[in-house]
């Protein structure tokens, strides 16, 4: 078993943990954190793929490495937008929960405009 395989399995485990956290952690902030863990697991897997493709004198395949850089920036944008929404919700509502209204009712009050 090579080191890249070890990190590949590690990436799979981190992704599993991220998925679990995304489903079960109740607070939105914890979900955002779990999403970041999940994302970092994906990036790690990409890094493993890049490392396995080391050739032509490069320590890794530069294409997936570049994709990870783009991915990290996109994930950061997502986090920033989610946190802005969350803090705004907290400010308007005084609480920050994602719970839908009680079962049976049809969710939020729509408006037109």
């Amino acid at each position: 078993m090579s080191a890249t395989t070890v990190f590949g399995l590690c990436a799979a485990a981190v992704m599993g943990l991220g998925l679990y956290g995304l489903i079960t952690n109740p607070g939105p902030l914890r979900k955002i954190l779990a999403f970041n863990l999940l994302g970092s697991g994906v990036f790690l897997l990409f890094g493993v793929v890049a490392r396995r493709g080391a050739a032509a004198g490069f320590g890794g395949d530069p294409v997936p490495q570049a994709l990870v850089i783009t991915g990290i920036v996109v994930a950061f944008s997502a986090t920033a937008l989610a946190i802005a929404l969350l803090l705004r919700l907290f400010r308007v509502n005084g609480s920050a929960t994602l719970r839908a209204n009680a079962p049976g009712s049809a969710g939020t009050e729509p408006t037109g405009g």
Partner: protein, 593 residues
């Protein structure tokens, strides 16, 4: 020409630059609008719209001339190292639809998002996000590289989410946050699949992948995760927790874009994945599973739609049901068990349904928005008399409803014909049943709304605000488009088997469309909310005695669905559903190997 032409040594085709322009123009619009701000924003948006429309039209013409697909190599770098843009019939049709809907929404939204006096956030954000959605969708339709498509999908999400909460109320903020988080969940799964595919084949280019790909476990795991992730973004049942509050809570113009176009972006990627990246690889069980989710979405979405008190929520749940229709084509296109695309007519039908729904649903949300603005509420039981005061809006709603039911010569009528033919050819009678029954459900909620809107008012209605004719005309135009889609010569861009285009205006076709309408009437009477209306029909006792028990039974049934909907829209349940869907697709694909 539904297939991307397999060109292993890609070169830029003549007129290929149009593809690059179609992405650049909206992006330039976004950047200019953000920099200029204030009143310039609308001007920039309205300058971009005809330009974008013209480019979409030019691509249609260029594609018609070349009889193949357009290819553009960005930076001159050929895949696998570079990124190619490719336009086939599917992408050209979807781009044109997008251009039409965006332009109509722009005209409609002008009254709501006009900058008066100083710069305000909501208008500035709306126009920027509208243009960004356009650019993102064009990238989704043209992108030839899975990672570029991932970035485009994220761009689409980031443009769509703030549209939900432009009014800044707590409910819409919560809806936007749920939407964003679930969409991120989905895109993470998509990206995992992209990673595995790169690891296995060393390219993310769609055409190159389609040549190298084979049914290895890693590929199938990737396919299952990507499909599940995309379905979460498309809000296919049972992954719809974010859709009803987001689409119903947004301002009308935003709802129109979200419901008509944004969900089609991820749907289109499912089509690309299953038809172009790995044609036939998912296998029989997986296509059946996908369509089964679609069928469940139709029943579930329609029944819950019938139980809604508010028009916008009804339309949002109708979107849920209509998304289901889009997935019925998968088992029919691939036939039973064979790995090849058997019936390209079914694929055409799926795209036609997407186009019809895009135009009709945008019209519906616009009409509902006008009704809300005029009345100050959108309670369905309080709509009586609207037909008198806002005839154009109600007609727009009615026409788009009829288009969705499949009245000839609408696009849905044509699509239904193609799907039925495919079902008969591939001997999958159960999908015939679903396709026929689907129209009953659609007409149920359309009739429910129309019955209320056309009823005489209890008291004369005064409009809170005068409604401009232009806004009504925008909705009506889109509704008419949807109703007349069947007359378009689709054969140029999509493959239409001979014989299906016989005569959509024949009397027989019209008559056959009456059955679903009548069936829908029964459904609406049994399941709808009627307020005091039902009590005023003539021969009240007789009617109630006749339908009473049936309605009681139906209501119990409807309540059950509502309760299930409430449970499924809780976050942990939706997250678990997403995992279950991913695992089921994986299992189905591995079994079908």
């Amino acid at each position: 020409m539904p297939y991307l032409v397999p060109d292993l040594h890609a070169v830029t085709t003549t007129n290929g630059f149009l593809l690059a322009l179609s992405l650049v123009v909206p992006v330039v619009g976004v950047l200019l609008a953000f920099f200029a701000g204030g009143r310039h924003v609308e001007r920039i948006a309205f300058a971009t719209m005809p330009l974008g429309f013209a480019i979409a039209a030019a691509i249609l013409v260029a594609l018609w001339r070349t009889h193949g697909s357009l290819v553009y190599l960005l930076g001159g770098w050929a895949p696998p190292l570079g990124v190619a843009l490719r336009a086939d019939g599917l992408s050209a049709v979807m781009m044109m639809t997008t251009a039409m809907v965006i332009c109509a929404v722009g005209v409609f939204a002008y009254a709501d998002f006009r900058t008066l006096g100083g710069e305000a956030r909501a208008p500035l954000a709306f126009w920027i996000l509208l243009l960004a959605i356009w650019g993102a969708l064009n990238t989704v339709f043209l992108g030839g590289d899975l990672f570029t498509l991932y970035v485009a999908l994220e761009l689409l999400t980031f443009a769509a989410v703030p549209l939900v909460c432009l009014d800044g109320r707590a409910e819409t903020l919560q809806a936007a946050l749920r939407y964003l988080l679930f969409a991120l969940f989905g895109s993470a799964l998509f990206l995992v699949g992209v990673t595995l595919l790169y690891g296995a084949y060393g390219t993310l280019d769609i055409v190159l992948l389609s040549h190298r790909i084979n049914a290895e476990p890693a590929t199938l795991i990737a396919a299952a995760l990507m499909t599940a992730g995309l379905l979460a973004k498309t809000a296919l049942f049972p992954l719809h927790l974010w859709l009803p509050p987001a689409h119903a809570g947004a301002p009308a113009a935003a709802s129109a874009v979200l419901s008509a176009l944004v969900v089609k972006g991820s749907f289109f990627l499912v089509v690309r994945l299953w038809f172009d990246v790995m044609p036939g690889l998912p296998g029989f069980a997986a296509t059946q599973l996908l369509a089964a989710l679609g069928a469940a979405a139709i029943v579930f979405g329609s029944v819950v739609a019938l139980r809604q008190e508010r028009l916008k929520l009804l339309i949002a749940y109708s979107t849920l049901a209509q998304i289901g229709y889009l997935f019925l084509m998968f088992p029919l296109a691939f036939g039973s068990g064979s790995a090849q695309l058997e019936n390209s007519g079914a694929l055409t039908a799926g795209i036609l349904q997407a186009v019809s729904h895009a135009t009709a649903k945008a019209a519906m949300f616009m009409a509902a928005g006008l009704i809300y603005t005029a009345l100050g509420h959108d309670r369905i039981t309080g709509l009586a008399g609207v037909g008198r005061v806002l005839p154009m809006s109600v007609i727009a709603f009615a026409l788009s409803g009829l288009a969705l039911i499949g009245l000839p010569p609408s696009g849905v009528y044509l699509a239904k014909g193609l799907l039925l033919q495919a079902a008969i050819e591939s001997e999958q009678w159960w999908w015939e049943v679903v396709i026929q029954a689907g129209a009953f459900f659609t007409s149920g909620y359309v009739l429910l709304v129309l019955a209320h809107a056309l009823a005489p008012a209890d008291a004369p209605i005064t409009l809170r605000v005068p409604i401009s004719r232009i806004r009504e005309a925008a909705a009506l135009t889109l509704a008419l488009c949807s109703l007349l889609l069947g007359l378009v010569p689709w054969g140029t861009y999509l493959s239409v088997p001979a014989g299906t285009l016989s005569n959509p205006l024949a009397l027989e076709a019209m008559l056959s469309a009456l059955w679903p309408i009548m069936g829908g009437g029964v459904l609406a009477i049994l399941l709808g909310r009627w307020g005091h209306r039902l009590a005023r029909v003539p021969l009240r006792e007789v009617v109630i005695a006749a339908i009473g028990p049936a309605r009681r039974a139906a209501l119990t049934f409807g309540k059950m669905f509502e309760r299930a909907d409430g449970a499924l829209r809780q976050w942990p349940a939706a997250g678990l559903s997403l995992m279950v869907v991913a695992i089921m697709f994986g299992a189905a694909m591995l079994m079908g190997r």
